[in-house]
Symmetry: C2
Amino acid sequence: WASPGAEAAPQTPNIVLLLMDDMGWGDLGVNGEPSRETPNLDRMAAEGMLFPDFYTANPLCSPSRAALLTGRLPIRNGFYTTNGHARNAYTPQEVVGGIQDSEFLLPELLKKAGYVNKIVGKWHMGHRPQFHPLKHGFDEWFGSPNCHFGPYDNKARPNIPVYRNWEMVGRFYEDFPINLKTGEANLTQIYLKEAMDFIKQQAYKQPFFLYWAVDATHAPVYASKAFLGTSQRGRYGDAVREIDDSIGKILKLLQDLGIQENTFVFFTSDNGAALISAPSQGGSNAPFLCGKETTFEGGMREPAIAWWPGHISAGQVSHQLGNVMDLFTTSLSLAGLQPPGDREIDGIDLLPAITQGKLIDRPIFYYRGNEMMAIRVGLYKAHYWTWSNSWEEFSEGVDFCPGQNVSGVTTHNQEKHTELPLLFHLGRDPGEKYPISVSSPEYQAALHRISPIVEEHEKTMIPAAPQLNVCNPAVMNWAPPGCEKLGKCLSPPESTPKKCFWPH
Amino acid sequence: WASPGAEAAPQTPNIVLLLMDDMGWGDLGVNGEPSRETPNLDRMAAEGMLFPDFYTANPLCSPSRAALLTGRLPIRNGFYTTNGHARNAYTPQEVVGGIQDSEFLLPELLKKAGYVNKIVGKWHMGHRPQFHPLKHGFDEWFGSPNCHFGPYDNKARPNIPVYRNWEMVGRFYEDFPINLKTGEANLTQIYLKEAMDFIKQQAYKQPFFLYWAVDATHAPVYASKAFLGTSQRGRYGDAVREIDDSIGKILKLLQDLGIQENTFVFFTSDNGAALISAPSQGGSNAPFLCGKETTFEGGMREPAIAWWPGHISAGQVSHQLGNVMDLFTTSLSLAGLQPPGDREIDGIDLLPAITQGKLIDRPIFYYRGNEMMAIRVGLYKAHYWTWSNSWEEFSEGVDFCPGQNVSGVTTHNQEKHTELPLLFHLGRDPGEKYPISVSSPEYQAALHRISPIVEEHEKTMIPAAPQLNVCNPAVMNWAPPGCEKLGKCLSPPESTPKKCFWPH
Ligand SMILES: [Ca+2]
Ligand SMILES: [Ca+2]
């Protein structure tokens, strides 16, 4: 590995994935957020390549993250449920399942090329011992296995632990305070320091993979004192500003260390803005329909920027259809590795798009649980199923599409359109408001192109065993490794496994 | 006046106003339009100053334009109606009224400082002889007095004339074809050439004022052959692309002539995107609520960019609350002139914001016809009246808020909230979806600030006589000056003046 300034043979580049939690496409100034409070991300885009057509594999945290790190749709890697049709499932602490050993995770594979791998922040791929990130290729971890919900009473429900590597070092709301009233927490600053220290440690040694999975923009949103109250956008905006500031510092560190041309940085989010938490705790999906939990554009389209000075020329916009799963394949490609040949990989190598401006023809599949709800091919999106959430939930005030109501589209029943899919042109109609008439030549032509792709997809799809079906209060974070040193072990209740209930 | 390269004393700068028709805030790449098809406007913003908080004075063409050129609210300059409460009125060719001689128009005043003034495109401030732009300070005109609706039969209704200076030179759909089927028309190219020729003609002579009021983005939208079918966004996008390309050419000409540092250029639009014409003929208001015709943000907030190399440093964003009426006062300021002292002027001088980054505290008033519907003070917007359109119209398919429905806000009755205004925080909630609770301290504090401003405004408001109340088929464009030379004079019907009907 080259020391700074030394002449060296081309190296496999470092990889930094900056993964946001529930941040929306419309939260970036460069994507039109009116307050323009992301100068560092806007500069990152101006110096790199912006992807306005980038997607997640699932509109919820856990399956999105599992897809990113395996390069596979959740229905292939097991991060879904069959407890109900088209229901989103994730990994709250009562879930029994998690990432299977049979899956190859990106850090596991990168190790073969000598990478040192660190995850900072939220893991969310299972909190039980066998799912621990250090068992799946990461060398270091600072962060939590689950969302920072709480505080809990440590009786019916334990507070979520924070780990350093193999062992817990405390719990949220106890050792890592989050003030729900003021919104104050210094977690982003801690996560920033973890990233900076790791980058400095690895800068001139082995190549590194940093997976920076911060969660300040996931409700309950938080920011440290220096950022609280500084945004036009309220508390959510304060969280965005602190993350933006942190990203500016990370990019500057790479430049100060002189390793920016040898570090591929990618910024994106795990799912669309959580409009259920808006306006004070949720972000913006700009012109797109609905948000998190849905397979409308607002749930699935993500902000995305690639930054790699010397390799990506400044100020580019790529209309390549991209997906978080591509970060798996692209990262392997950067490391000179091939994706596993023994299984279906859904992610594609984006390097031709990123470094040569090529456009690779590929569809985007929009899954919700065990159902392919929609597909995008070119500028057309066909919905085979539509659902926002149930009438029962909606009548209780749970609204994934606040202020929006597109007749026959944002449905509160699960509507099947497999015979005559609802078709939209996302160029003319990014907001999915104007279904194209089924009797039009345009509809016929588009379906003629889309149908064989769907048929092929369905024909070859072999779902994995669903990992998110069983819940059990006994598996919660009662006594994580390291708890005894801290005197923070709690007694689990009796084991009572049952089907998890996923309301939407 | 200085010749190129010659040393010269500071001159009053040329002024170029690029006024779009029905273009939405969200139609610019720099404001987040996903297709990113406005590279020239995006570059203009990158080289200049972007205003995300810029407004029109009225969500409809004619009153907006009258406000821009007089610096006064339509209720002060007469561009409104009292035929109904809070109804939008404009200048179709049967309208009897137009701009009054008692109003001072910007070009009239600029003449005192030696400016040569040209309007290219749509006038829309009255089509009868006394309202002619050359009677109100313009030295040259190429364009039409009304919208390019048609074709008409020249019996019940004449086609709209196109003027060069004092006389008509043809009619739309006859001598200036617009193909409604294909969308082809070369008008933007003609308007571009008119602008370029005028700039070249004036470059080293007297200072000039160019008011470039193109209308390709107003339904029926059009583009020339070279641009048709080139946008991801359909025909509307083709129109945007051609205008963007033209603006690139205008800015380049200023640079090629070496007069860019002596030419102040401002880009904006007359009202929000016309969602009634979307998706194929209407634009985008991005995260904002509803569109043209309404006093929600989508109807009133406009894209806006100031460009003046050497005076405005590159890449700035100003959160100054701006209004098209400010272009009147700012232009006078640039010309070293004072606004008229004998009347209320609503526009402010934006130069301190533009050249020194100052923020000037001022409210934005949202009028619809004879009613102040809402006000913005700081980040708060208070609605005193809400109305999208009537149930009757809505049930016939006229929808100013397609796919959007905010309970109690996008009302189909005229709802009065003067006792307890509906309050929104536009920073947290740019989409006006979450009214702030009237019982909250935040509501009380905001209203405490807003109420005195509204009271003062109402106390001092003396409405002008409404000019848009009377319609008469006899006043249509039957026999405009110059028609005899072309053999295009038509016979007017009998005079039958009656109240204009304004449905919304
Ligand atoms: Ca998430
Ligand atoms: Ca207009």
